[in-house]
């Protein structure tokens, strides 16, 4: 069946069919022409992919982020970032990167990062004399941390595929790599800003002023503490944490920032429902797709082949990096996780690689894929919000690709970056 499944998928994707439908159609085609299984098996797999309590965290985190994204919260974060790094050379660019990292603590997705604070920052940077395409490229690079710094939709899905890790341990594991990626993108921005002479922003405000601005951003930044802390101390499960995040966002929006009005809620909820529907539909289809791979024995035979090569863990990780970066050129992270993790995670386990470390390598890789042409959702989002051609933005990307590649190498070769926090926090 696999000899029909993969070619079919690639052809349908290349023709421009939506990913979810392309996967479902190729599953049905593979089943019809290569096996005696009834079609209803596919339907059953799609439903069992969706019928899951942990998966509920996905729509809830999306909803919480949509509620939080309202003007006041994003603005509070932008101002805090601005007051901390705005006075440096390329200050507005730095503020863009830092606010993305803060926003990553609210949202679990890179696209939400780019579409929310990213759009605002691009406008501000353009007014501050930056090239618009450069501002767009910087936003793409800085949005990568969205699903690396918790909460993260990709991590929730990953934890459902690999029993060796939990949502809580992955959330912890992502913190340091997320900060590292942020630092690397900051460095890249500093270098470019110096060579192009991008100005520094406003001078650093006095300490008292910074504290006041920070205090204003605290209710928004507290969400990540609430989520990670609550899960760690067993107060609630990740799914419950996601619902609590929704109510917390409502509370903060209505009573602390007072920017959320009841009559805005239906629109916010609808946006979250549509985004969730798109994500979940892909998951249902990917589940059926993965099921075919499993009954074909592909993960097992691939695992045996690779293990028989007797690779050292380092070589294996490097090979995984190359494989995932190529895969990420064409595929988004969620179907990537659904299809590849059941294949790769057991191999890495057999080679003695820490499962949290491996998970972060996979997730960072696939998320970088969102920023790479030809198929990079982040590029599409930013090109549609900036009205720039994707190619114009991509031309500005090389310094950031270099920064991301260096961060990825560090994450690959220094397991402690991803394993230290989960270990000390007792996962």
């Amino acid at each position: 069946m696999a000899e029909i499944l993969f070619p079919m998928l690639f052809i349908l994707l290349a023709l421009g069919l939506p990913v979810a439908f392309a996967m479902a159609i190729s599953v049905f085609a593979a089943l019809s022409f290569g096996s005696s299984y009834p079609h209803l098996v596919v339907v059953k797999e799609m439903f069992s992919g969706l019928d899951s309590f942990p998966l509920l965290a996905v729509p809830f985190f999306i909803l919480a982020a949509e509620i939080m994204t309202g003007g006041a919260v994003t603005l509070a974060m932008l101002r805090l970032a601005q007051s901390l790094v705005g006075h440096l050379k390329g200050g507005l660019g730095h503020a863009n990167v830092v606010s993305s990292a803060m926003f990553a603590g609210i949202s679990g997705s890179a696209l939400a990062d780019a579409a929310g604070p990213g759009t605002m920052m691009i406008r501000m940077m353009e007014k501050g004399g930056y090239d618009r395409a450069y501002a767009g490229a910087l936003t793409i690079a800085s949005s990568i941390v969205g699903p690396i710094i918790p909460p993260s939709i990709t991590m929730i899905i990953y934890a459902m595929q690999d029993q060796e890790v939990s949502v809580g341990s992955l959330f912890m594991a992502g913190v340091l790599p997320g900060i590292l990626i942020t630092l690397m993108v900051l460095l890249a921005n500093a270098r470019v800003s110096r060579s192009r002479g991008y100005a520094s922003g406003d001078p650093m405000p006095p300490l008292a002023e910074i504290l006041r601005i920070a205090l204003h951003a605290v209710p928004a930044l507290l969400l990540i503490v609430l989520i990670v802390g609550g899960i760690r101390f067993g107060v609630f499960t990740p799914t419950e944490a996601s619902v609590i995040a929704v109510f917390y966002a409502l509370f903060v929006g209505m009573f602390i920032y007072r920017s959320l009005r009841i009559r805005d809620l239906p629109d916010i909820i609808l946006r979250a429902a549509l985004t969730s529907s798109a994500v979940l539909l892909i998951l249902g289809a990917a589940r059926a797709f993965a099921w075919i791979l499993i009954i074909e024995g592909i993960p097992q035979s691939l695992a045996e082949t690779i293990i028989s090569w007797d690779l050292s863990p380092i070589v294996f990780l490097l090979a995984v990096n190359v494989l995932l970066l190529i895969f990420g050129l064409f595929m988004d992270p969620l179907p990537g996780v659904m299809i590849l993790v059941p294949i790769l995670a057991p191999i890495s386990m057999a080679l003695g690689i820490d499962p949290n470390h491996f998970a972060i390598v996979v997730i960072v890789n696939l998320t970088i894929g969102l920023a790479t042409p030809p198929v990079g959702s982040l590029i599409f989002v930013v090109s549609s919000t900036t009205n720039l051609k994707p190619s114009a933005i991509i031309r500005q990307m090389p310094p950031f690709f270099l920064a991301l590649a260096l961060a990825l190498l560090a994450i690959t070769f220094v397991p402690a970056l991803s394993t230290w926090l989960p270990t000390v926090s007792g996962f």
């Binding site: 998966l55 909803l63 696209l111 939709i153 985004t275 064409f330 988004d332 198929v375």
Partner: protein, 175 residues
């Protein structure tokens, strides 16, 4: 006709709003109950999961309408104008056939499972699995509604009713 379309889109939207709100309230109430009274609702998890299934399928059509399904259009964009139209026409026809097929197998599956009941709510599974044929039925209607602008210009509808360029949902789709 235009008015009917608007009513249809609004109803579809409100159904989604109600479903996601209900999910949030049910799971939220369950946590609150557990902490306050040390009891939880045995059916809460189940109800939330089935509502999520309904949200997924009944939202797919509206997502299609606003261009929110991720697709790779690089090849399409390199074709000459006429080629693009033909390719998009073929995609619409192909999707229509696929959606009809999904309605068919969805109905078959729901019909086969109708005598089983869910563990906690004791609800016939037909009410859960009907989500798929209903959702793909909605997809058929939404696809027919956007077929003309999509084939001729590759454009989708905006949530507020104006026509627009392909406009990815500013949300979390795909990571």
């Amino acid at each position: 006709m235009k008015r009917l379309e608007n009513i249809f889109v609004a109803l579809n939207g409100w159904a989604l709003i109600l479903i996601l709100s209900a999910m949030t309230l049910i799971v939220g109430a369950n946590i609150a109950l557990r902490y306050v009274t040390a009891h939880s609702l045995p059916w809460a998890d189940e109800a939330a999961r089935y509502l999520m299934i309904w949200m997924t399928f009944s939202g797919a059509g509206l997502v299609l309408r606003t261009g929110g399904h991720v697709a790779i259009t690089n090849l399409q964009d390199t074709l000459p104008d006429l080629g693009q139209k033909i390719l998009r026409g073929a995609i619409v026809v192909g999707l229509l056939i696929f959606f009809c097929f999904m309605v068919h197998v969805g109905l078959q599956y729901a019909g086969r499972m109708q005598y089983q009941v869910t563990p906690a709510l004791r609800l016939s599974f037909i009410y859960v699995y009907a989500a798929m044929p209903v959702g793909f039925g909605l997809l058929i209607v939404h696809l027919l509604l956007i077929a003309r602008p999509f084939i001729t210009a590759g454009s989708y509808k905006r949530a507020d009713g104006r026509e627009a360029e392909a406009d990815p949902l500013p949300g979390g789709a795909n990571g």
